[in-house]
Symmetry: C2
Subunit: 341 residues, 2 copies
């Protein structure tokens, strides 16, 4: 899920390979849009590029104006390419909106903003999908063109669509999220098409890699960013079977989401609005949980659940914080590995 | 056919309805891209808007990047909306190319230039076609949005595609014209799909209108702009049956085309490279033919063919020349009407 609020991040230059502090660790990150992409950027700075696979939510994908749009894949791709728009939190840096204004003048649908640069991604992806290429292959090709080095992998190649249930009936995710600005209370979520989907083969391969050191659930919305990934048949089992600890970073700090409607959804679903509820949400999938320093008081309750707990600063306001959080996560991974041996 | 060479036209402001000099004449124009669109603009200045129907070539249409592109419909629409790009001769005034550069960076096909503003037309048209609307209905809606008042009508709603035969084999029209810049000699033309197409219903209605005063074949390329229109079954008959004289304006002046490959095609096809050959090309469809003043010496040969002949300035370098040519054409129509009564 890609939120549409501003990111205060100053633009940082090229990656410095000499600064990689965990050149041997091999990780899979599960993520949605903005929050997850930020941690992916931090992890990319700390790992060898070949050692990071980012399995990304595609439940937000939809067809709009005849184009296949993959909001989270794009946010992750633009973020890892250093091209993300920090003002909007979605789309590309230095974007322009001439197409959009011409479309509005023609009476076209303009509730979903598509920038002139961003449009190239949607048109090229749609063209290649129509030509029979898989979403995985297209994502790899486009990301490669933009200089992205970690593997960005859609959770699956088949279409899975998040449906938001509300008291007024079901809504397609982007209608709920962008068009209606999360106005309606949610009563639940469904992932249409998930029952017949299967994990993208490179997602499966990354999770089955015996050399894998960690699976990191990024601080993304559990309901509409991570749950769609886990809803793909075989994904949860592949994660549970992996020879690596599974660690989640809480997207909730002091009972609030850093971005987006996570806390609002928790209230509406009757889930306690605190980080512990996120740990409970993922349940026995987890080996470790990372709390923000502001939620230090919750650490005992995390450990009571049999989980290793790390307390650290998790709010990623800039590049430095992303890299710092990634470092803390990876040190936590190493601690868990030492404990296990 | 929409040529891609510059137009020296100064931009002219809004239409002045008081300047309409032939408020009662009702005309159908047949046209392709740039040259035809210029005369259409002139006719629009001289006629009541409801009295002009522009039947436009769609043999140039093609699917590119998954989008339905109608180059001639767009040139006519942008010209009549006062939005045409005079620098390029195609596309929109004040255009930008950010989508195109982003697409090239992603490795997409960039031989056919699509501006950021222009793209809105293609995306909205493609979306509506996919939703089941006819090309006629979409053209009417988009042109209406842009403030166009005459009726712009595609020759047919079904796809007809001009194929250019060359010694190296057949080429799709835009591959011949834009991608390969007319490099190959032509040996002939075919209009794939024409055999099962039928004239758009509003084209049929305009031609069958008993109050119709003239059918004007604009100075467009006869082979790839007008012939596709005439290749639609029933179109030639509807023109011949109409209660109105058919007048062609020569696209050839001093043996040269004002724009585009007409003269080159005539040489390659072994057709004499002069205006008379255009009259012969349309044959008994014509009642009158308009020669440029520079070709005054050919007038006798036109009249020898039993055609009324007008000699006037036909080169439309600016708005004034478009309006002047339209005035001359419409006076010629009135002369033919008087002769007939």
């Amino acid at each position: 899920m890609t939120d549409r609020q501003p990111d205060k991040d100053p633009r940082i230059g090229k990656r410095d390979d000499n600064a990689v502090q965990f050149p041997r660790l091999r990780c899979v990150a599960l993520c949605g849009g903005v929050g997850g992409a930020k941690l992916a950027v931090g992890l990319e700075a700390q790992l060898s590029p070949a050692n990071l696979t980012v399995i990304t939510n595609t439940g937000d994908d939809f067809t709009h104006l005849g184009l296949h749009i993959s909001p989270d894949l794009d946010t992750v791709m633009y973020s890892l390419a250093g091209l993300a728009n920090r003002e909007t939190g979605w789309g590309r840096d230095g974007e322009s909106w001439r197409f959009m204004s011409a479309l509005a003048a023609l009476g076209g649908e303009d509730w979903f903003q598509l920038g002139d640069l961003d449009l190239a991604t949607h048109i090229e992806r749609s063209r290649r999908l129509a030509a029979g290429e898989s979403l995985s292959a297209i994502t790899q090709a486009l990301a490669g063109r933009l200089g992205v080095r970690p593997a960005i992998v859609p959770m699956c190649d088949a279409p899975v669509r998040t449906i938001v249930d509300t008291p007024d009936g079901p809504l397609a995710f982007q209608h709920y999220f962008v068009r209606d600005k999360c106005a309606r209370p949610v009563t639940g979520f469904r992932f249409a098409g998930a029952d017949t989907a299967q994990p993208a083969s490179s997602a499966r391969a990354a999770l089955a890699d015996p050399a894998l050191d960690a699976i990191i659930i990024c601080p993304s919305n559990p309901f509409v960013s991570i749950d769609p990934i886990l809803a793909v048949p075989g994904m949860r089992e592949a994660i549970a079977r992996a020879h690596a600890p599974v660690i989640a970073v809480s997207p909730i700090v002091r009972g609030q989401a850093i971005k987006g409607p996570t806390a609002k959804m928790m209230r509406e679903l009757g889930v306690p609005g605190e980080a512990v509820a996120i740990a409970d949400h993922y349940g026995d999938l987890l080996d470790g949980f990372i709390l923000d320093a502001a939620d230090r008081a919750l650490a005992d309750r995390i450990e009571d659940r049999g989980l290793a707990c790390l307390v650290t600063d998790t709010v990623m306001t800039g590049q430095e914080e992303k890299v710092e959080l990634a470092r803390a996560v990876l040190q936590f991974v190493q601690q868990l590995q030492q404990k296990a041996t």
